[in-house]
């Protein structure tokens, strides 16, 4: 009989936000923030200089070098240029992060959920940075090991059940079951649990374990 562990389990806090929306919000707010900041710096701060493009050109071409207005106009255009460069970098970062981290993680979530539900035939295959790839390889390794153990259990219980097939015991307990019957029942229960899993390239059969392509000899 198994004993219950008396250790307390901590309740994991599951945050309701998704990583995808967090990242998108971050980058969007950074982009909007940069646009606002540069708008304030280049236009609002110098808005008392109201010029149309013609006058602007005249000032830039004809004014003396030390003219404050000319300096301010040049600064304004440099701030705009710098802002565009920063925005371009931010968009690249957003796009890269999405493709390299968010997308592979989402794929991993889907496949790992299936593995968690007993579909050991699923394999995670993602193109991603080292940590995410290592994580997915480790999950695959776990799944492979679980499959091996379960198939082992299946085969060994099959062997024992075959031997017990012809065993009959005279003694019957109060429920009308002999010791052999109890063992058989327990083994069949064990096999029932194993059959709840789906395996890679392998189908379970009452007599023996077949590979995934052996369709004509599968029994129901």
């Amino acid at each position: 009989m198994l004993k219950l562990s008396r250790k307390k389990r901590s309740i994991t806090n599951l945050h309701p936000y998704s990583l995808k929306s967090l990242v998108n919000t971050f980058f969007l707010s950074a982009i909007l923030g940069i646009i606002c900041l540069s708008g304030v710096l280049s236009f609002y701060a110098t808005s008392h200089i109201l010029t149309d493009s013609q006058t602007e050109r005249k000032i830039l071409e004809n004014s003396e070098w030390e003219s404050t207005t000319k300096i301010i106009l040049i600064s304004r255009s440099r701030i705009v240029g710098l802002t565009l460069a920063i925005l371009a970098w931010l968009c690249l970062a957003w796009f890269s992060f999405n493709r390299l981290v968010i997308v592979p993680l989402s794929q991993m979530v889907v496949t790992t959920e299936k593995i968690g539900h007993g579909q050991l035939n699923q394999t995670i295959n993602v193109k991603a940075p080292f940590e995410i790839r290592k994580l997915s390889e480790s999950i695959n390794d776990l799944s492979v090991n679980i499959q091996e153990v379960l198939l082992f259990v299946w085969n060994q219980t099959e062997t024992v059940l075959r031997y017990l097939e012809n065993e009959q015991s005279q003694y019957k307990n109060e429920k009308g079951l002999s010791e052999v019957d109890v063992v058989k029942k327990d083994l069949l229960e064990l096999q029932k649990m194993v059959s709840k899993f789906a395996f890679y390239d392998v189908h379970l059969d009452k007599k023996r374990v077949f590979d995934g392509f052996d369709k004509d000899t599968l029994s129901s």
Partner: protein, 117 residues
């Protein structure tokens, strides 16, 4: 009499069990491969006396890997390991040119097979 063996299996638990059995039988496990591709690479580097090859592996399976190794080295001694039925694979085993087939769930049989080869 101990042979140098390359163990190929995608399950780390299975590799551990095979390695323990082989070591207790006096053989040396010179390498462990997790996949068919790794198996072919390691075979070329290590040149082991024998290879134990799992059949159901993700990606390149054991049969394809065995074919590739035998193309590289026709004298390669490959023993297939599987939890599947022997009858189904005895034909493939002969066709590919592997030296034998052992049921994974009777790992100790590998020692008899190795001694016979």
């Amino acid at each position: 009499m101990g042979k140098r063996v390359l163990v190929v299996d995608d399950s780390s638990i299975m590799r551990k069990m095979i390695k323990e059995t082989l070591t207790s039988g006096g053989h040396l496990v010179v390498g462990e491969a997790k996949s068919g591709v790794e198996a072919v690479n390691l075979y070329q580097h290590l040149k082991p006396d024998m290879v134990t090859m799992d059949i159901t592996m993700r990606g390149m399976d054991g049969l394809a890997a065995a074919k590739e190794i035998l193309e590289l080295d026709a004298n390669a001694k490959i023993i297939f390991f599987s939890n599947l039925d022997e009858e189904k694979y005895s034909q493939d085993v002969k066709e590919i040119g592997a030296k034998g087939f052992v049921n994974k769930h009777q790992v100790s049989e590998i020692l008899d097979l190795i001694d016979r080869l």
